[in-house]
């Protein structure tokens, strides 16, 4: 049995999968804190209204305190789970990079806790944006670790390829696909930062209608127009009046949403083209054929996520930023980011630059990677 297969530990993998699911729930919990404007409802940290955090009476979990306090408790749970799997990895996984990735996860979760606490104790609202963005990255990392500990990942290194001679066109297509997936994933992350920035303005909906903006394709953002919007706006839980900058920020978020949709659509298109090209040059039993089918399905799943995300964004506006809808929008955004990130991990992991002399007919797979080279774990 090779070293790669020896690393497969089903219980460790399941533990990390549970941690990933719990992290997703924590993202939702954090989303509810912001959606309910409850981020500062517990003025002290790490205590809660003077109590030890774990001893705060349930009878006092009212209003905004409920969201903030449960978020802190869940975060503590995630920190515990992360610590357990980091130690477990260190003792049970022989891959050095994997162990250090576990350490990175521990550092990130600790940093997240400190950032959340400092946001409260230093009254630094902008730290909430960093805290939200880092949460998404931590979620990606934990999901990646779930992938790396899976049987599938550890078997991929042993996959073989059937020889084929007509591969140059498809190689170019799948290389383009790989980079397109990466660029789209980066764009999604930028969109998440835009969204986090919007959510931490504490000004409610900067634009109350969709798909138009104040009845126009591009809203009037002159001082007189913004004054008019604020005069006629009656908000319940929004602290601040809206500004021209916030209106432009929301417009940027809408435009990037369209770009993301186009990019993910392009990924789907490229995946199908790669699949068609592969079918033309390879027998149906080709390993690449199986992978291209997975790539097409994954791209369609990604596209569906983006369509749902856009619908949730519209619903957030139409519902006057209902907390549960806005939070669902955050969560689907996280899933879209993770989908792209894991696709990149798979595609680039299995890609190596072609040697000057290579075996004839090696066929890149539909994820955009060349076959696993010897020693590629």
């Amino acid at each position: 049995m090779n070293a790669t297969a020896q690393n497969y530990n089903p219980w460790l993998h399941r533990f990390i999968v549970v941690t990933a699911i719990a992290t997703f729930l924590l993202l939702g919990s954090g989303g509810m804190v912001t959606s309910h404007e409850a981020g500062m409802s517990v003025p002290d940290w790490p205590n809660t209204y003077g109590y030890n955090m774990f001893l705060f009476p349930v009878s006092k979990w009212m209003g905004g305190i409920f969201y903030e306090h449960t978020h802190r408790l869940l975060a503590s749970g995630i920190a515990f789970l992360t610590t357990v799997f980091v130690v477990w990895l260190w003792f049970k996984d022989s891959r050095k990079w994997m162990r250090w990735l576990g350490v990175l996860a521990f550092v990130l979760v600790a940093l997240q806790g400190v950032l959340g606490g400092l946001r409260v104790t230093l009254h630094m609202d902008k730290l909430g944006i960093v805290h939200g963005a880092l949460a998404q990255l931590f979620f990606v990392l934990v999901c990646a670790q779930a992938l790396f500990t899976s049987r599938w990942w550890q078997n991929v290194a042993q996959a073989t390829r059937l020889p084929d001679q007509k591969n140059s066109q498809n190689a170019a297509g799948t290389a383009a696909l790989r980079w397109l997936v990466l660029a789209t994933t980066v764009l999604i992350f930028l969109q998440l930062i835009l969204g986090a920035t919007m959510r931490h303005q504490h000004a409610g909906l900067a634009i109350p209608d969709f798909p138009l903006a104040y009845g126009k394709i591009w809203p009037d953002t002159t001082a007189a127009a913004v004054a008019h919007y604020n005069t006629n706006r009656v908000e319940v839980i929004s602290e601040n009046p809206i500004t021209a900058g916030q209106i432009i920020l929301q417009m940027a978020h809408r435009i990037v949403a369209v770009l993301v949709l186009i990019c993910v659509g392009a990924v789907t298109f490229c995946s199908r083209r790669c699949q068609s090209a592969e079918r033309a040059i390879a027998p149906p039993t080709h390993v690449g054929g199986y992978e291209s089918k997975v790539a097409v399905r994954l791209s369609l799943f990604w596209l569906a996520l983006i369509v749902v995300q856009i619908a949730l964004g519209a619903w957030t506006i139409w519902s006057n930023k209902a907390a549960d809808v806005a939070t669902a929008h955050v969560l689907v955004g996280a899933l879209a980011l993770v989908t792209g990130a894991l696709w990149c991990v798979v595609a680039f992991r299995r890609w190596r630059p072609l040697p000057r002399v290579e075996p004839a007919g090696t066929l890149p797979d539909a994820f955009g990677a060349h076959p696993a080279m010897a020693g590629n774990k």
């Binding site: 409850a38 209204y49 305190i65 005069t231 839980i237």
Partner: protein, 236 residues
């Protein structure tokens, strides 16, 4: 006989010295609103909170536009623009901001720099008192206030309009406190009237500021009698 001629002069000088050379006056006026303001919105989240709902028989609404039958506009903060360094805040009695029925009362108020603002929790539930000034020198605070806890006291060193006070436990709770560096300001009541008392006679720019409708100014000259300055805001 020289003494007899000088005496009336001395008497006249004595009378003049004892009388003030100038007399402070009041600036009074009325604020009205033209046009129809947007309808107020019910505090639905308040009624979803059992602690808070128990204190209300009906759902309270926002009150950004408090308008009388003849258009009298309340909650307009009127002050003398650009007057600084005249604060008497440290010697003034504190001003009370109360949390009652999970709402801040009053919603709009004004104090001087250095004057104490006392925040009270009259409710049977937890509030946090979170103020977010934007001007450097005014400190942000976020303090827990349990039911029955002692009053919290704040002062602000710099003038600033509409400092937000809020409760993050009950995110619909807001008050806005304006801070001035002089004693010459007022807030219009439900009759739309305001008074700025004992203003020394000089030329001023009077500014009327409503949180939603913005600011207007008028130049006035205070002499030895009360001056009337009226403002009309319009919702377009």
């Amino acid at each position: 006989m020289k003494g007899v001629k000088v005496l009336p002069v001395f008497l006249l000088l004595a009378v003049l010295a004892s009388a003030p050379l100038t007399r402070a006056a009041d600036i009074i006026g009325t604020i009205t609103l033209k046009g129809t303001p947007p309808p107020e919105v019910p505090y639905t989240p308040l009624m979803d909170n059992p602690d808070c709902a128990a204190m209300h028989k009906t759902t309270p609404t926002t009150h950004f536009y408090v308008v009388g039958p003849e258009g009298e506009l309340a909650d307009v903060v009127v002050s003398l623009k650009g007057v600084t360094g005249k604060s008497t805040g440290t010697s003034q009695p504190p001003v009370l901001l109360d949390q009652k029925g999970c709402l801040y009362t009053p919603q709009i108020l004004a104090i001087q720099t250095g004057q104490k603002l006392v925040v009270r929790n009259s409710d049977h539930c937890i509030h946090n008192v979170h103020c977010t000034p934007k001007v450097a020198g005014n400190e942000e605070h976020n303090d827990a206030q349990m039911p029955g806890a002692a009053d919290l006291t704040y002062t602000f060193a710099q003038p600033e309009m509409f400092i937000t006070f809020k409760c993050d436990v009950h995110p619909w709770m807001f008050a806005w406190v304006s801070v001035f560096d002089s004693p010459w300001f007022g807030v219009s009541g439900t009759d739309g009237k305001f008074v700025i008392k004992n203003v020394p006679p000089v030329k001023y720019t009077v500014e009327a500021n409503h949180r939603k409708l913005g600011a207007q100014t008028q130049d006035v000259e205070v002499k030895d009698s009360d001056v009337t300055v009226n403002f009309t805001f319009e919702v377009k």
